[in-house]
Point group: C2
Chain length 925, copies 2
């Protein structure tokens, strides 16, 4: 027979799916012998039956009556007892926490007669009436759908009539008036009076909580957090306790360790003669938990004992809500406590030291997301300054500097020692020099994966983008920020990449200890030793190799310091930004063979130097060089700019021959969709000399390094391949050059491979594997093409709306799209290995540094991920965690990741968490 | 034991893979008892051994010697016999025909001594010396790689010395000088004299033919035609015969039916006292074959008998080359004859009538490609006019009209009865009205799948595109065509969409009978009854349903006349071209709610009318309406144009407020990659009112038609979906509207479905099938995204180079890419059917009208294809052929299709086919 009602004191391991999270935790505490106000849980199964059939399952009423009778027997007074009424709280509690999304009704059991009894037994008529007022309000909203603002209106009206401002200032008579008027609302809006029968109240409240599963806000929350609509909620019915019965009562919150730092000690707050919501709302100032020792030593000792029991049970830091009712301690709720990123590392490391958990468990207790938080500089606490503008939080960190409006100015001012913030409508590859020189980047246009955002994240540079209120006037060298205000170039601003806020003037920043340590500075401190220990353990257990995306020897050096095992992606087109653009332009737009040959010769000279310094830096670590993958529009003159320029010049009396030629060039090479135009391997097949020149530069550089005694481990890869014939074409060119160099200078070893960036490359990976010794998945482009999303365009115009409407839960550019792009990658690896079992497979691109993506890649047998230098420690950590998870529960990875995605670490201060069930801690005011 | 040499008179069915095509056909004719000059074939296996090992297989020489001895015995004279030398031809012959790609050496057996014997036995010293000259030249080139132009130089020098122009004018002494100088070339360039031993000549010639398999031109041909490099060629060694031994000799070509019309009768040509190459080169005028009856009745009768034997054997029209040597008939080659498209239909239908083949076989003997040729108007034979310009043959057919340079002019002039040709740099959707008005389209930019080409093909409108020499000057209203020549607007030009030629003035055109018949005109004639019969049979056997892409009721009406079974794709964005652009612009760029609401109201009114006339036309046939899928740039102001306009106006003293707003709008909505930007379902989610308005217009229109007694079978589909949540979002909107209309006007039945155009939609088709009642594959976009190819950009800048380099054999937009896009479609259908077994799957887009693609779709269980009205008959025919092929040989479809792709019907006149082995027909001049 199905049981729909379970007492908190039932035997057996509580089932969270059946009892919900709250119900299971309460039952758990009862089993641990902790003092929990008694009660029972109505299962999610009952809820599902109700929602499907529109009626409670048969027998539920009988079960509730039986458990209620046991409860009344246990506490010694009865629901509806006129002299000493039992009051009940009826609360929702789903398997996955949905804070504040569903309904709660407190003070069930009060009516016109029992309120008198409660007044008598507590000796506080106002308290009893206030409870009744609240019951009327919560019950009216929840059960009958009477709008909240009608009740609020009643309260406001009475306060106005009495000439007071605070609810607390209303005396018992006034509250009685509120009660009467609330009751009148029932007649008007529910067409019936407030039910006086406490049993009916309970039954109606339970059904209403069931129904609140389908409220709009709950449904929206589930859609956004990927929680199934089919689960239903459990309902917890619990005896109410009161922390405000007098000086020997009170309520508080306790943490078993400091949630901000992880330090051991008494952390938390206590408020005498108060209920839980008073602690949270701060109507009075709570005292530090340690003071409870002086106020009520016995309760303090009992609490300490409970804290110990809970931490031993959960083997983790716990967050506990408690009420003391006339010297008696009640535990209302406990859970594993939220904590700051620093505390997460400290606590995990300490618990290993203390012998409670293994290193493996400790590693699973921290996340890459937390480590990321620890790596960015940040502002000190808010200083009351108001935002000048707000944009998208595109790359975390805090930056302070003078506004500069173009890349050249940024480089110039930074050169003379100024901190600058580059402010642009949007950035383009030629802004890179300015970005490197700047402390932060602010744009008025573009989404979280715009050029500015992507590059800034890769560089660990704070960035706020898409701040639409900004209008940049390059002529006047100023920026309008809306509401008639402007800032001038040279003004100091502060940029908060974690919140998207932009502030006038300099806010104070705090440096990141972890980055100082990684860069080889700071060596001690408990946080550093916790981080170092967990990173070491991750390195010891991970299967994935970690490489870096690095285009210069400076990038490569940093990557090595941060723990990279080689370079997974060197984007050679990034070597042609800024002034060097012209070399590529001259090759592509060359008017004749002479012009082209001379441009190629210069390109050869530059690239040879680039490769030599990069290979000297990596010194035997694997270094993967990608042939040019430049979408034309990033390197060639802009059509609109040139058209305007020539039109104006013609008007003035004639454009120059050069301008006319440049306009003609721009028109000739202009592409409607450059992302899918002449780029990647296509450029190499249309201009084979580019391939030959790059290969020659690379092999000569490798020979130079080798001849000087250096070590070289080289990979050469081809971008944007769609068909095996493209790869074979380039392979032939490259092999000819390699043979030529070998004849002159001896063999230069390298592996030849391909990027997999188009869906077709993934679908035909078996064919590519006949030529390729390795596959490198470029999941940014692969995501663009698989979805048909132009990243910049869609992030700006479509994605915000999609996230808002719940069509997407996150950008597929941020975390790998398992069903689409992920399935392509998985089957590509399988097909390639069927042809060439030893083929290496890696992922480069932003996903290579994303925790959830790393777990996915580990699970499908990818050999390495390559990410920006700044993400290397995160990738090391998550690769370790992934290895542990796949070792321990290979089948459950999917749901585990889902859960993790749905509950990203909250970086806000834990005490600011207003979602706690404050109202549990008592209801008397 | 492996046998490497097979006499033509060996027993058993000739194996084409082993003997090559030519060898197998010769052996076949010997088995049929026909008079073939005797010889033997060295197998492809011997060739493969030679190519792999660099040496002939052991025993080959012995086999050749044995077969040669049998040959000498049979003909009664010997190789190297000084008195009466046997001469041999040594020819390549691969399994798949590669005309002219590999080497041939004739007249093997001549040397300084046998040439004297030949002169004596033929009584013609000059002939003998000329044969020797040719042997020296062909042998020198083929065996020793002596450059051809050196031999040509010798001949030219001697002609100059003798003061003559033609080779034939050289007398025996002069030819002897050529022979001596040719021999001298051997000493200089081969380092040895010409081998005098006929056996050595034979052996060296055979090896050289083997090696010619790997010549550059042969390798390129194979790459372009998808022939494996591993097959190798066979070598045929055959006794030479001579048609020019006197008046009782001659050579000719015979067809068993007229290759131009399919008529029965004597077709072909005969040239007395001539060798085969004289027939082809036309040095003298050949006589009609029927004259042979008067010249040599016995040979004529024998030839007629041979023609009957061959047609009965091949059960098809044959093409026969023959030589008569002193009254004796020799058959040198036969093959199933090439024929014009009209003849193909006539012959297939006649052979059914005559009882030789079944209707099924007849259907397999014709192709959609041939039917296409029959549907376009064409020019009469060349009239000596030279091309004004040449572009890409983008859409076949012949058009004559006055040049117009913009759409408005085209509409205006056409309105007053002029035939016009629209000449544009490239066309955009707003040019559609002009294209509809024009007889043809000519562009200076864009590839075969540019907007102009795609739309023109869909409309059956002749189009030449990418004629790069054209420069259009809209100010002067003229077009420069290069070399200082210009044509003015209003000049008459002729456009040949089949060749890409553009001509000044009016060429005469011939109307298509087939189109007249399909349009309901012309009813009789043998061609029409052949086409009608084969189309009927195709309809009877096909499994695929055929629908049309039609955006207007006129399109729909034509589609029905052409045999469509409904509308598979109505692109509602095409209803907003030209003037109507502004309605969509106003919705998308609306400054406030009022502006948007009023724009939506107008849109509703227009669309309701559009849908009503369309549904009235289709009258109960299924009609699939696609929600708006407009890439923004096709509907919104062009950024570059607006920027120039505003810049110039500002210079003049100030742009108007409207212009400034339009520039700001253009900047705001400008997309870097519109193909993958805000379009399709994304537009509908960002602007849900567009979806509601279209759905309302559609359901109201359907209710109107129904209420007037009409029948409605409606499908509504959503474009560019990437994830199931998008589809569900739109489904909710549409269902709300449907319920609203149902409440007011009664249920309107429709099926809800989705386009599958992104790789992700295909990869997650199982998820889409939960909402979708049908899937419609848009293979144009799916190809763009799977390859990462922006069609317009890549066709212009990349594809020509890819085809040239052999990286691609054909555009994936022309015929479905089986390995990439095809595999996505196939697995999507499987996944969707696993979730919803009854789900319908169709293909719309250009591939729906492409023969090879239709065969693929039939093979993977697609239910219908939808193509442009003009392609409907082709699709019906090919769907019938596909059904037969899949019924008869399900496993061999791939290779059959490959072969078909590699051997597209040659539409040129058969007698212009210069690839025939003319030199076989004798070698004496």
């Amino acid at each position: 027979m199905i049981r729909y009602v379970h007492s908190f004191s039932s035997f057996g391991t509580p089932d969270r799916l059946l009892l919900g999270g709250k119900g299971a935790d309460l039952a758990q505490m009862v089993q641990l012998g902790l003092p929990v106000p008694p009660g029972f849980t109505i299962t999610t199964e009952a809820c599902r039956h109700y929602l499907e059939n529109g009626a409670e399952p048969p027998g539920l009423q009988r079960e509730v009556s039986r458990d209620l009778a046991l409860l009344e027997e246990q506490v010694g007074h009865r629901l509806g007892d006129i002299a000493n009424p039992l009051l009940l709280a009826v609360r929702s509690g789903a398997a996955t926490s949905m804070p504040g999304m569903m309904d709660t009704v407190l003070d069930i059991g009060l009516n016109d007669r029992t309120v008198v009894g409660l007044a008598a037994v507590t000796g506080d008529e106002r308290f009893a009436l206030d409870c009744y007022r609240r019951l009327l309000q919560m019950f009216g909203e929840t059960v009958f759908g009477i709008p909240d603002d009608l009740f609020a209106g009643v309260l406001d009206a009475v306060k106005a009539e009495r000439g007071v401002e605070q609810d607390l200032e209303l005396d018992a008579d006034a509250v009685r008036v509120v009660v009467e008027r609330n009751k009148a609302l029932y007649d008007q809006h529910a067409g019936r009076p407030m039910p006086q029968d406490p049993q009916e109240q309970l039954s109606l409240a339970v059904d209403a909580v069931f129904r609140s599963w389908h409220s709009d806000r709950a449904a929206l929350y589930r859609r956004r957090n990927g929680i199934s609509d089919d689960l239903g909620t459990a309902v917890n019915v619990q005896v109410m306790v009161f922390g405000n019965r007098g000086p020997r009562s009170g309520s508080g919150v306790a943490f078993t360790r400091d949630p901000a730092t992880g330090d051991l000690g008494d952390y938390g707050e206590y408020l005498p003669t108060a209920q839980g919501e008073d602690v949270v709302s701060g109507v009075r100032t709570a005292v530090p938990l340690a003071h409870l020792r002086d106020i009520d030593l016995a309760s303090y000792r009992r609490l300490r004992s409970v804290m110990g029991t809970l931490e031993r049970h959960y083997r983790d830091m716990c967050d506990i809500e408690f009420t003391i009712e006339e010297g008696r301690l009640w535990i209302l709720q406990t859970r594993v406590g939220k904590r700051s990123p620093a505390a997460a590392f400290r606590i995990a490391a300490d618990l290993v030291e203390e012998g409670w958990i293994t290193r493996d468990e400790a590693l699973l207790r921290v996340t890459g997301e937390q480590l990321t938080q620890l790596m960015f500089p940040r502002f000190e606490a808010p200083d009351g300054r108001k935002e000048l503008a707000v944009g998208l939080a595109a790359s975390p960190g805090a930056a302070v500097g003078r506004v500069v409006l173009d890349s050249a100015t940024a480089v110039e001012w930074a050169g003379r020692g100024e901190d600058v913030i580059l402010v642009r409508k949007e950035t383009r590859p030629e802004d890179l020099a300015g970005m490197v020189a700047a402390k932060g980047v602010l744009t008025s246009r573009g989404g979280r994966t715009s050029h500015a955002a992507v590059v800034a994240r890769a560089m660990g540079l704070p960035c706020v983008c898409g701040a639409g209120a900004l209008e940049i006037d390059l002529d006047k060298r100023q920026v309008s920020v809306g509401a008639g205000r402007t800032i001038a170039e040279g003004d100091v601003i502060s940029l908060d990449g974690a919140s998207g806020g932009v502030f006038l003037g300099a806010r104070r920043t705090v440096d990141s200890e972890v980055v100082q340590w990684l860069e080889g500075g700071l060596r001690d401190g408990e946080l550093i030793s916790a981080v170092a220990g967990l990173l070491d353990h991750a390195d010891a257990v991970r299967r994935l190799r970690i490489r870096a995306n690095a285009d210069t020897h400076e990038d490569a050096a940093r990557a090595m310091r941060f723990g990279a095992e080689g370079i997974g992606l060197c984007r050679t087109e990034h070597m042609f930004l800024g002034d060097r653009r012209t070399y590529l332009q001259r090759v592509i737009l060359a008017a004749d063979e002479h012009e082209r040959t001379s441009a190629l010769a210069q390109l050869l000279r530059l690239q040879r130097g680039d490769f030599e310094s990069l290979l000297a830096e990596t010194d035997g670590q694997v270094t993967a060089i990608r042939l040019l993958d430049a979408p034309l529009h990033e390197f060639l003159p802009d059509l609109t700019q040139m058209a305007v320029r020539v039109a104006l010049a013609e008007k003035r009396g004639g454009a120059t021959r050069l301008d006319r030629r440049r306009l003609a060039d721009a028109q000739r090479v202009h592409e409607e969709n450059p992302m899918t135009g002449l780029r990647g391997v296509r450029l190499g097949i249309v201009h084979p000399d580019l391939v030959r020149t790059q290969a020659l530069a690379l092999f000569e550089a490798a020979a130079d390094v080798r001849d000087r005694g250096g070590r070289v481990d080289l990979e050469l890869m081809v971008p944007l391949v769609s068909t095996a014939a493209e790869l074979e074409f380039v392979q032939t060119l490259v092999m000819e050059v390699a043979e030529d160099v070998a004849r002159r200078r001896g063999d230069v070893d390298f592996r030849f491979g391909t990027m997999v960036e188009t869906p077709r490359a993934a679908l035909t990976a078996g064919q590519l594997a006949r030529s390729a010794e390795f596959l490198s998945f470029g999941t940014n482009d692969l995501t663009q093409l698989t979805w048909g999303f132009s990243r910049d365009d869609v992030e700006r115009s479509v994605l915000p709306r999609y996230l808002d409407a719940g069509v997407l839960r996150q950008s597929p550019f941020a975390s790998i799209d398992v069903d689409g792009v992920g399935s392509l990658v998985k089957s590509a690896v399988e097909q390639a290995r069927a042809v060439r079992p030893e083929i290496a497979a890696g992922v480069c691109g932003e996903h290579g540094g994303d925790p959830a993506s790393i777990h996915f890649f580990d699970g499908i047998g990818i050999d390495y991920v390559s990410c920006s230098p700044f993400r290397i420690p995160v990738a090391r950590l998550e690769a370790g965690r992934a290895a542990l998870l796949h070792r321990s529960e290979p089948a459950a990875i999917g749901s585990r990741l889902q859960a993790e995605v749905g509950t990203k670490t909250d970086s806000r201060s834990v005490t600011a968490d207003t979602t706690r069930d404050a109202d549990t801690v008592g209801a008397r005011r």
